[in-house]
């Protein structure tokens, strides 16, 4: 089913290594719950999504998180979350761009990716991630809400946590990453397609 050419295998690996390094530089956003940290580690995966397609981009996200698993502090849940949320961004971008490979297509792809990441990661957080944190790590969702409420008084329950914490966080993160990619992709595309 999945067969990569050597060239693609190596590209994916090195982009994953780079994205692992970028992932180590993270900083919190103002007015956001402290466990949501901003990092730019989706940039290499997005470049691969444009140059190789959605499958390669998912592999970059997967390897990045497998590497991060070696220094996990959440028994792997944080890595699972990062992988799935990252996939919500890079897969639609790869698919849309595959279908329309123009400059306009690239912008549409990024817009779709931003919307997809915001919407699906909110649903995923509500249905899977927060319950999983509560079950496996014994960290009740009420406590997550309470800590987040310290930073942002609009957060009072799990629905407002998602509406005013998680959704805007992912929205801002996706926009910043997309902007950076839009700026650097043009300069990189000659070497990407060689």
């Amino acid at each position: 089913m999945m067969k990569f050419e050597i060239k693609d295998t190596v590209k994916i690996s090195i982009m994953a290594a780079l994205s692992f390094l970028i992932m180590l530089i993270e900083f919190p956003l103002p007015f956001m719950p402290p466990f949501l940290k901003l990092d730019f580690s989706e940039i290499p995966a997005l470049l691969i999504a444009f140059s190789m397609g959605p499958l390669g981009a998912v592999m970059v996200e997967l390897i990045k998180n497998l590497l991060h698993l070696l220094k996990t502090t959440s028994a792997g849940i944080g890595e699972l979350a990062n992988f799935i949320v990252g996939a919500f961004l890079v897969v639609p971008v790869g698919l849309v761009y595959k279908w329309n490979k123009t400059k306009k297509g690239a912008y549409i792809a990024l817009a779709v990716g931003i919307v997809s990441m915001t919407v699906f990661s909110s649903i995923f957080n509500y249905l899977v991630l927060l319950p999983l944190y509560a079950k496996v790590l014994g960290f009740p969702t009420d406590a997550v809400v309470a800590i987040s409420g310290e930073m942002n008084s609009m957060i009072v329950d799990i629905k407002t946590l998602i509406a005013f914490g998680i959704a805007p966080f992912n929205f801002i993160k996706a926009i910043i990453i997309s902007l950076i990619v839009a700026v650097i992709y043009k300069r990189l595309s000659p070497i990407l397609h060689r």
């Binding site: 999945m2 990569f4 060239k7 090195i14 982009m15 780079l18 220094k71 790590l137 014994g138």
Partner: protein, 266 residues
Amino acid sequence: MMKNFTIGQYYPVKSPIHSLDPRTKITCVFIFIIALFLAYDYYSYANTIIFSLIMIVLSRVPLKTILKALKPIIIFVLITALIHAFLTPGTEVWRWGVLKVTKEGLNQAVFTACRLILLIGVSSLLTLTTTPISLTDGMESILGPFKRIGLPAHELAMMMTIALRFIPTLLEETDKIMKAQVSRGADFISGNLIKKSKALVPLLVPLFISAFKRAEELALAMEARGYHGGEGRTRMRVLRMKSADWISLGLVSAFLVYMGFYRWFM
């Protein structure tokens, strides 16, 4: 920037745990975690603590090193324990204004803290006693049977290996480019979020160009040497299960059965 940076946290000594097959260690950690989730009272948690301590002693990794691995989660554990202590309903033992601590809450706090510390501690023990490369080999072998349903086990392990090999190189490269751009007046530290993101562009463009060049060179070198994927490839380190591996698997499984038995039949 990040001096003395290590991926994983391998602690190099000779010990019975270090010399086990990586597949054994991965499987044992999984079994132990399941057993850990079966613990529900002081007696069963004491059992899991003793079992982990035996593993730690056998591994010859100093307790200090393991505690260092636990440092990033200590605050998380404390907050979780406090929440359980204050928010669990039950018989009251201590009250201060609106805050009250219950007997059930205290128990719950101790249990949750134990579970979290053991969960992270034992998985750290895995990365402390196994090099990232042999963990990758072990993962490839464990995922082997899933090749039939299309999981690219070999490609995945190959990508992990290449990535692991290139992390130090790319780190050095990043450092070099950062210094070069700082010497031209770039500023990566000050400013708000937008300024910081903008500052990343002159770092990222040369970094990606050099990374892609390296990828091309490596792909060419691999092709020239006849690399053709998983089928029929020989390897330098062949994984072999020894009797110590089967004994360890047997012991951990016995522990799981014992914990299950204690939970449901005693």
